[in-house]
Symmetry: D3
Subunit: 279 residues, 6 copies
């Protein structure tokens, strides 16, 4: 069960409204890597956690914090939109700056939300549940979390340069700091899990090691012209499992058959030779 307190986690102020910037902030609220994503991802991972209380508790801590980040971003967008109103297009047609604002603003901030944050990205696409994952495998999920915080912090950093409003920047700096810590945190969790189970997800497959001990588990297939890709750590040396060495295949040869599919039943109406229809 959850409880809410009135104070925001961090102060959220603006020096002056900026409806164009409000549109862009939507990306880190309701976009692919916005706060709605990390909030829902950590909550679902926490709700679904099976068996290790330490991780479950940690996921619930962070998931609960992220609900408050959605709250903060709504407070930010709300202030950036303060005073905006449905403008007269005719007046805009005479004043280029007004015109630009009318052209660049998210129309749903006026028409749909009445100056509030929307559960959508900066282009107005609604947030959806396929942005998140809770797989039941902790290592897989912590890697998803690290990727989400990395993409999220990258976007906030880019956003930071789009404004010179020092109050807004102060809020963004708090978010950058939290995203930094959350990257540390998932890295620490990943380190723990990799030390316990090894680096491959899932660790528990295959039951018999030989099932998968095939050359393909160590080969780089050079399917794009040029061999610059041979210069990376992935191209030489031994794999973390200690049982294989990387092989760089400069000229890979396909190992499969040429596949020709069967003619289907006539009821599927492929019409390759419809004379034979005799149902």
């Amino acid at each position: 069960m959850f409880r809410h307190q009135k104070e925001l986690q961090f102060e959220v102020k603006v020096e002056r409204p900026d409806p164009l910037f409000a549109r862009q902030v939507q990306e880190v609220l309701g976009g692919q890597f916005g706060e709605m994503t990390v909030m829902m991802q950590y909550l679902f991972q926490g709700f679904n956690c099976r068996g290790d209380e330490k991780y479950k508790d940690m996921l619930m801590d962070i998931g609960t914090e992220e609900i408050g980040h959605v709250e903060m971003l709504c407070a930010l967008i709300s202030q950036l939109l303060d005073g905006a109103k449905p403008e007269d297009q005719e007046q805009a047609a005479k004043d280029p700056v007004t015109a630009a604002i009318m052209g660049g603003i998210n129309p749903q901030h006026l028409l749909v939300s009445g100056l509030g944050g929307l559960p959508t990205s900066s282009t107005g696409v609604p947030w959806n549940g396929s942005y998140i994952v809770a797989s039941g495998n902790l290592l897989a999920d912590m890697r998803s979390n690290l990727h989400a915080e990395s993409q999220g912090r990258l976007q906030v950093a880019r956003l930071y340069h789009m404004t010179q409003d020092e109050s807004v920047r102060a809020t963004l700096r708090k978010m950058l700091a939290r995203d930094r810590y959350h990257q540390y945190q998932w890295m620490a969790a990943i380190q723990e899990l990799e030390e316990k189970n090894g680096v491959v997800v899932p660790a528990s497959f295959p039951p018999e090691a030989e099932q998968e001990s095939q050359p393909e588990a160590y080969e780089f297939w050079n399917l794009s012209e040029g061999e610059e890709s041979s210069e990376g750590l992935w191209a030489t040396g031994s794999a973390p499992d200690g049982t294989g060495n990387y092989v760089y295949i400069s000229n890979p040869v396909a190992k499969g058959q040429i596949y020709s599919a069967k003619i289907p039943a006539t009821e599927l109406h492929h019409d390759l030779d419809h004379k034979t229809f005799d149902k």
Copy 2:
């Protein structure tokens, strides 16, 4: 520019058709972490790559391989569906096993694709572009790739237990092996990039270190009851940047204000006090 050769990368055969399993295989073809996702993600990252040819070439190698994995999964689904046809419901009503198959099959395998693979998940949701990311930041993107291969291999491993068809299992083992190698590969790339730029994404923010050197970059906020979360590596010790030590805050206090939003212009029709409307 691309070219196609007729042989599949690996052999794809089935011992016998299994239309229910065909429905489940769709998850690793057109689901959130299916082969369409890694194919499109690596291709877009490669197409958009700015400045380091080694990584661009490597992304194009793997992206090109993944197109062939989509091809292989279509060949697999195609064979699992061989011989299926629009069944008579009346007959199904008498034969429970037929009924179960009719109930459990993906109806679009009959009605829409005529026994072919679909660009959809196991529940029939179309693949979409928000499954992928190509951010322009290599470390962020390699972490996304590692997460995608981890989730993807996990799903193939689960799928493996749903069939006892040894030919199908042989194909799945090849995919498990490639997913294993691809995890190694992204880990190696991540290691290279972290050694060069540090572990936080993005590395280049802030320009002046002090902008972000705040306590919030090292604090764990215990917002869910219970302190099991204090037992992880993230709760004590120093951060990888060497400039901060983790602090576990058992009883966090909100630092922000209580925010009250302003009354909007009357043209927005919030109707809080509509008497004042005087446009």
Copy 3:
């Protein structure tokens, strides 16, 4: 079966084209609460109606009217776009107002529809079937209809302030009038149904009254700090069913257990302790 006549339901004219406004009008055509929504919602409710001809006939009356509203909005957008053409960006770069128009216009009005209305919102998101509901319960559905007309009229009212084109405003006033009437209409239907079956949806659950006569049916849980919420009609007095009195719980206590999920089968590869895998 349906028939079409050539006249629009109401006159639709513009004094002059305004492609930016055309983009915004899309919200009330193909957005969440646009005319496509009420059209499809009422038609599906009418098509699926089981058992009361009066309501079925009424739904078909209004649903049929709304098809004509979609037609009217296409005629409006079409005229707002008259004369627009793919502009020269270079010229726009010199003329700020042209630049603003090119920046603010919906690019699909030029590229995709060739100056016609689109089945999308003001941000270009395609209309979809999850905007509507036809549940088979008349009271639930009439409440959905009242909510849709309320949101819809609110958006048209906001849109009204975005233009000073008197011809456009005349059309919008007709739509406001119809949305006013339709609010009256659904309120009247709701009143009839509530008088017959009571105010709770569904009325027919539970069969035995005691199944649900629990304290939870009358309690307000104050889970957000502050007790301003105790001042509403919902906090004191008796419920409309006459069998319970509202209780405002200032300090609610959770009644459930602390839930710990079971460890899953090893075939799910949670990897909590993968040593035990023995399939």
Copy 4:
């Protein structure tokens, strides 16, 4: 800012697992009217609230409660899936009941979530942000809330008949009770707001009453054959605004023009007469 406590709001138990029912419960978790919808809708309305603290506080109370309902449903689905595992299809082919379960289960419960709740509907469609609304107009939004609770309780009531597991039913009864109270609550809020501002949304349009005092605000247009629709409260008597009487128009006549759109610029390539192209 939010906090989480370990106890669930109400007890959530099952007598025995039931993976088919787990699939159906997804509807009230991540479907159009599931708990994710009311949670996000009330939170966004609360976050965006401008100006009346009583309503803001109330929205935050209920929104916070609903996060806990999402938690409860995940705990329910988790228990319904306990013990499930990727089944052998071959065995299923011999045992019709197993086959039916394998056919009827949501494959993503095994493949994607590893026996956890998903942010999707009963057919596997991801939850998305266009299920919710926070418009800034309190009366419009409270009507949306009443409709959501009505549809939601209807679905829970239908779900109740799909199981005879008494522990599951006990949980569902708690949810029915809360949905009952929440319907009362929104009705009470609507009553307050209607008494203050009148029944039409928005109340503040138009500024001058005459703008909209048109016959169209009181007319029923009988556009579907048959006059059964004349028997409702909406067809006779006076409107709640006291300024108009309902008129039932048996044979409505269109009032608009026959609209013919203009030929577009040749750069749009309508090709009606492409000879005239002379750019």
Copy 5:
């Protein structure tokens, strides 16, 4: 403006309910090529038509007919679901056929629509506006219409084999007949337009013929191994424009450059060399 009459266009009856078949019929109601698609596509094309009344009138005729087809399919699904109810899972567990039905039924037919047609496909994905197109170019759109009727009739034909209910089949035969006629109709319209403007869409580009008279307009690039593709009509002979002859390029050579993208501004945080950040 539209009107509705009570009779269905054609008789719609069933001999007995069949809830599994109801799920499959959804494909031709709310799927990619269902009746909602042709209805909305023809209506939008008609609403947006600029300049040729014959085609506009024809589009409105067919679009209006298709609204009635949506109505018919709802009547069909409604009857196929007659008598269904939320089943007891426990009973299903004992009776395999009931279990199969419970597993194979669309759960939303019970939970969401209460035994009515849904605006979704056979896998439950909501219909959306990106299924349709109204481009303003008549030839392009008539080709879209021909493709939609071809895919649509194919699906109805496959559906036909899934039932032996003679009443259902009678209705499907009417739909097959109409889809046959509509294919003829769009072919006739295409023939008219091609005779007037030529076969390439758009006809009006380029203004000066030489702009595009390049070898690439007549070349087949053999980018997949094997030359079976050289045997078609597209590989030899002259193009319909009479100005070029097809060329089959067995070994195509890329004509473009090797593209290397520029290093972006540091504010984009690509981190390729973040030392240089100096904002």
Copy 6:
């Protein structure tokens, strides 16, 4: 299996960056009829092809070419975005042209992709799998391909007028030429297939010719007022099957029944008469 070579198929250059145009180019990359659509459509049709190697090989040739077109468009967008960076809004507020650019640019080109192409349309909607079809019926699919190339070339032609950058126009001309050839190609394939099997899809239904030889297969129903539609080729003469003559029905009469749906089981809670509930 696929291979990649470094050269682009055609040269892709720009004279100067143009971030607004980059947004519009997205339509032909990731929109409904963009290159992602034809790429995925042809590949899936090729992968799923059953039985005629000539068509399979041809589909693989073109599908493989289209992957290279996606690559080219990413290279184009990349160059149009060169040098763009997160702008200072304050500065934009003073300079109208900058303001217009900031308003008109796709914010995700800065925030999400870091100056790269996105898998989305010009309005930012992610590409999705329901844009494509691979039905297993060659004639149906070739018609889909012809429609896709027609819509696609139309959009490129419109785009051409939005820029005067001669380098960009040179690239677009290559695409127009390929789209021209691909229209020829699908027309040639259609001609072959129609000559073999007749013009109706599917050809193989019904088994007995009389099943469908009904008047409805030749009738035009004039359901929209006015008889302009009687002037087309579809209104008179004989059908291509030689067995029927078109009939123009000026005043069509509905042939179906007035359908009244049955009252459902009480467990569905329609509440029409909830007193009878007695479970």
